[in-house]
Every structure is written in structure tokens, then in C-alpha cells.
């Protein structure tokens, strides 16, 4: 438990000595945000790792071969992912539910195994090395990005886009009959989600000295992990997935005692317990089910928040 004691007694020291963990929490939160966007619009898309890979490889390759500044590299990765998202979306967005999920799994694995592992420039199975990585300095960038992303999405969900997405999520046919251009809004959500994922991928690549095409990085395992952040945290609003990401990224660290090897078992038990006893997620539908301070804005229309 020294993890918790240090956090409480020496926050600055904790920050300095756990920069990579904090950075990972940040990146996982941005990924969870990417997942939030598609789930909020009613699409069970598991394509995030594929777009992450596009963001990561593009930014690292540009940095290695063209020596362009980091901001440009990540922006390029995000842009490329958005274009790919448009193309992929055109093919799959008419699928629903589990079928969309499987199609997106097909996309990410085809990208990883079919494209990345066969293109010599990506280093194929060995991945790329990124000597210009900056694990210590990168943290601040990630945290600033996270705050901006959360703010952006919070505003979006309160606006017209958010309401359209909500309507689509609840009942696609009804939304269509109300004149909402369902296809366009779904595509927007999909592309935004892809851009966020690519952004997270580029940041992650900047923090590590390598880009690796393994299953745990850009495959189904990652997709499932990101899905779990969002579902465990609750995808009713943007804070849910972020809380989910925070909880699930920190849990293995809290459980990392010497000689205690059953971390994964405990993680699995906690996962099942949370989803059974609180299937709407930790944060749930109406926001944190705790006492709200008086100045917290109240939504005009909201489902009764589960206690």
C-alpha cells in the first residue's frame, strides 16, 4: 500500500516518480473518451486501437525520416486516421450492435496483421524504435491534452451534436423520423472517435522508445481494454469513461505487492462485481451519484440518477 501512502503524504514526489503511470492514465483516458463518443451515439465500435496504430506509426515515421516537429507529426497522424475513418465508416456504419463491433474488430486486426506486419517501412513484426521519445517531458503534454479533450467533449454533449447523438443512441428509427440525419451524425461521431484515438496513439508513441504491433498494443486485447474503461466508468457522460480509465489503470499498480501474483484474478473479480452491481457503470447515467455541490449545473432533462 505504499502507493497510496505516498500519494497522500507527498503528492509532488508521487507525481515526479510516477510520471509514466500518470501519462498512461492520461492516454487511457483519452482513449476512453474516444470510446465515449461512439458509445454515446449508439455505436459499438471497437476500432480505436486501429486508429491509434495509424496515429502512432505516422507520427513516429515522420519524426524518424523527415525530422518534422512533434506537433506536426501528431496532427498528420490524426488527419490520416480521420480519412481512414471516413472510408471505413462508409462501409460499416449501417451495421448495428454486435455486428458493428465485429466489423471493427475485423478492421483493426486486418490493419495490424495484414497491413502493418507486411509493410517493410513499419518495421513489420519488430516494430519501430523511437529514440526521440521523451517519457518525462511528455506527461505534461498528455495532461493538458486530456483536459482539453474532456472540456471539448463536455461542451459537445451539451450541445446540438450531443442531443442528436443521444437521440440516435436511444432509438435510431425514431431519430430518423424526427428528421435527424442519422448517417451523418454517426459518421461524425466515428471520425471524431478515430481522431481522438489517433491522437492518443501519437502521444503514446512519443512517451515510449518503441512502437510495437503486438496484440496488447493495437489488437483485440487493447480494444477490449478500452471498451472496459468506458463501460465500467459508465458512458452516460464524458466523466464516466475517464473515471473508468483512471480506476482500471491504477488498479494493477495498487495491487502490485511483492509476491502477490493474483492481480489479474482480482481485476477480473472487480470487473464482474462492478458490472453486476452497477451495470450502468461507476459514474452512471446522471453524473456521479454523490452529493453535488450547489453550484454544479443541473441538466434540465435527466433520468433519475441511480443511487
Amino acid at each position: 500500500m505504499d502507493f497510496i501512502t505516498q500519494l497522500l503524504t507527498d503528492p509532488i514526489g508521487f507525481y515526479n516518480s510516477h510520471t509514466l503511470l500518470i501519462a498512461n492514465i492520461g492516454i487511457n483516458s483519452i482513449l476512453a473518451a474516444s470510446m465515449f463518443v461512439v458509445l454515446y451515439s449508439g455505436q459499438l465500435s471497437l476500432a480505436a486501437p486501429g486508429f491509434m496504430a495509424i496515429g502512432a506509426y505516422t507520427s513516429v515515421l515522420m519524426e524518424l525520416y523527415w525530422r518534422t516537429p512533434l506537433a506536426l507529426d501528431i496532427a498528420a497522424g490524426t488527419a490520416l486516421a480521420s480519412v481512414v475513418a471516413l472510408l471505413v465508416g462508409l462501409s460499416v456504419l449501417r451495421l448495428r450492435g454486435v455486428f458493428l463491433a465485429i466489423a471493427t474488430i475485423g478492421f483493426i486486426e486486418a490493419l495490424r496483421l495484414g497491413v502493418i506486419l507486411n509493410l517493410p517501412i513499419t518495421g513489420e513484426g519488430l516494430g519501430l524504435q523511437n529514440p526521440k521519445a521523451d517519457p518525462l517531458g511528455g506527461v505534461n503534454m498528455v495532461l493538458v491534452a486530456l483536459v482539453l479533450v474532456v472540456f471539448l467533449l463536455w461542451r459537445l454533449t451539451k450541445g446540438r451534436l450531443g442531443h442528436a447523438w443521444s437521440a440516435i443512441r436511444q432509438d435510431e428509427l425514431a431519430a430518423m423520423s424526427q428528421g435527424i440525419d442519422v448517417a451523418r451524425y454517426k459518421m461524425l461521431a466515428f471520425i471524431l472517435s478515430a481522431a481522438l484515438a489517433a491522437f492518443a496513439g501519437g502521444l503514446e508513441a512519443h512517451l515510449n522508445f518503441f512502437v510495437d504491433p503486438g496484440d496488447a498494443q493495437y489488437g483485440v486485447t487493447r480494444a477490449v481494454q478500452v471498451l472496459t474503461f468506458a463501460v465500467l466508468g459508465g458512458s452516460g457522460n464524458i466523466f464516466g469513461p475517464v473515471v473508468g480509465a483512471l480506476f482500471l489503470t491504477t488498479l494493477p499498480e495498487i495491487l502490485r505487492f511483492q509476491g502477490f501474483n493474483y492481480r489479474d484474478i482480482v481485476s477480473g473479480v472487480i470487473l464482474i462485481a462492478v458490472i453486476i452491481f452497477r451495470p450502468q457503470g461507476i459514474v452512471g447515467r446522471g453524473g456521479l451519484a454523490i452529493i453535488r455541490p450547489r453550484w454544479w449545473p443541473r441538466a434540465q432533462v435527466s433520468a433519475p440518477s441511480p443511487g
Partner: protein, 410 residues
Amino acid sequence: MKGVRLVSFLVGAIIIAACGSTTTSGGNTNTYAGKVIKLGAILSITGAGGVYGPQSRDGMNLAVKQINAGGGILGATITLTINDDASLKATAAQLTQTLIQGEQDLALLGPTLSNSAVGAHPLAESLKTPILAVSTTGIHIVPDCNWSAATQDTTPCKYVFRDSLGEETAIPDNIKSYAGDKHPATGVLLVAQDDKFSSDGGQIVQNTVGQYGINLLKVIKFNKAEPDLSPYVTQAVQAKPDVIFITSLGGIPAKIMTEARKQGWTGQFLGGNGFNTATVSAQAGADGLGARSASAWYLGNTFPSNAEFVSAYRSEYKDANGNPKDPDQFAAQGYAAINILADAAKRAGLTFTDLAGDRDKLRAAMEKVNIQTPLGPFQFTSTHDVKQTVWVIAMDGKGGFTLVHQIAGS
């Protein structure tokens, strides 16, 4: 009053300085009394590398136990944490950060796999912490840990060392010795293209075979996670080579050997460091009989500290049936690594108050290490690498090895 205080302060300072001066490295064997030297090992206890990691761990733990029992390093005790990276690059990188910054370890050991080292070593270098690899044998581990095909960067990494004999020496020695014995004419190479160790080994094989008159008929690449290697083995066997080169690790060598024998092939297997542990020999069983590789250590070697190491290991560790367990190359390298660090720590003049300074002092002291280990007399080369005797060994079909050749280090 102020005057009295000033005088007492001065007297106190003089006394302290006097005490301090008696603890310089002038023969007092308890300079570090009461201090703790924190070491952290990143090993693959699970996953593909889980075949090798536990042996490294056992060798290290034995060394730590012996040193602490013998009074520690100038009175300081060693604490060693073993951290499992599950054979994953990203986990190895994360552990590197946690151990260096969270645990504030003085130095690190590992990781087990060359593939994981790509993630861990550059990070340790950038955080200026010495890291001693105990089983990575791939290329560009030392000294140029930041080398990549795109940048071709050969800047040496000051903080990265290894005590595990590189494949660049081992594989050619193995091929040369077999070529000298049996004069094979043809070979086929099976390589796991998405594993750095295997891929590096494959490259070395391709660069070496020509010199010994072996014609490499085919290079067959596969992915390490594939369940069924029989299509690749079939391709290899159908070419009818004299030799099949297997540069993979973990469970793959045994799989390939079993499959090849099943398909009726009777030629010679030549491998890399992946062969050098009892588990792999046992997995291969009778199908692996005679498979050769070059090892950095052999159970029966006659170096001064080896016999003692072997008997201490056998009394410390037992197998599932309660019989004494023999150490292997990985255990010996782990054991040697702790002794190397201990020797360096002894000479480094550690302050235990300035971690960054201590790490740098340790690094400098490591470069001058010159001790006896079960691997033989040990010194780092100018590139923090290893030069030592090579033992060409062959699997005995029963989970062990026999010695074929001993090649002195050059």
C-alpha cells in the same frame, strides 16, 4: 550565549568530521554498515520468456542470499525485487520507470528478452540508471541501445551492460564447430520474424553460413504466436537440407524439432541461446537429441567458483519431486550479475544520500569489474559486452545437455 553556541557547534562539527574520516575506504570493512543497496530485476517469469526468467531469478536470489549471509557489501544488505514483465515490451518499459523512480533502485537487472530490452534499456539510459542485462543476446543491445534501422545511431549507451554472451559470437562459434565436425552442405533457416532475438539470430546465421561452405537453401519466416508451425516445417523438410537452423526461443524450438522428426527428417538442428535451458531440452525430448547450440556456461566447467556455485544451487533449489535441481546458463548469468554489481558497489564509494551520483559512481565502477564467476574470469569489454569461453553443447534427449566442444574466448 551566542559564543557558547558557536563553540559547541564547532566542536560538534570537528567530532563529526573526525568520525567521518575514519570511514574512508582505508580498510574498514563496514563502510556501508546499516545501509541498503536496492536492486530491481525485470524478468520474464510468465509468457514466452517464462522458460528462462525463473532460472535467472533463482541464480540472482542465491547470490543475494550468500552475500547478505556473508556480511553484505561492506556491511550493507542487498534487497532484490523480482518483477515480471510477462514477456511484454510495454510492461518491461513500465517496470523500468517504476523501479527507477518509484522504488528508487540503485541499479536494475534484465529484462530477460532482447525484444523487451528495446523498451527498457533506452529508458534506463535516459534516466541515467545502470542496467545489467543477464540473458539478452541480440544485436545492438550493447553498446548502441538506441540503434534503429532508420537512424543508424551508434552512440554508446553509457548505463547499459550485459553479462550474457551475444549471439554474434555464439552462433558463428556453433556453426563453425559443427561445420568442422560434419561438413554439411545445405541448410534451411526458420526464423520468427516478429521477435528481435530470433530475427537477429537469423541475420547472423545468414551472414555466417557462407564462410563455412553451407548453402542456405531457404529462409522461412513465421510469426511467433502461430499455433501450428507444421506448414513452415514442411517447407523446410521438403528442401531436404543437412541442417535446420532454429533461432527462436520459448516453446518454439521444441515444436519445430518434434514436427520435423514427425515428418521423417533426420538431419541436424543448430540453434541459438533459446536452446540453452533444461526446459527446452525436456520439451524437445528424444526429438531434440543432438541439437546443438553455443552456451555461455556448462554444468561441469572447471572455473574456480563454479563447483561451489553448482553445489550451493543444488542444495538451495529442488524440483517438483524433491530432487536437487541443477543450475543452467541463465542461473549462472544471474548469479554472476549480482556478484558483478556487488563488486562494483564495493569499489564505488557510494554515499547513499545522492542517488543520481551513486548511480553514476556505480556505472564507473562496473566498467572496472574483474572477478571470478561461474562463467569464468569476468571483465566487461570496452563496449560493456562480454568475452568468454564458449561451450558448444548438445541436447541429450532427456532434458539435459552434453558437452561437445569448449572454445576459448578471443
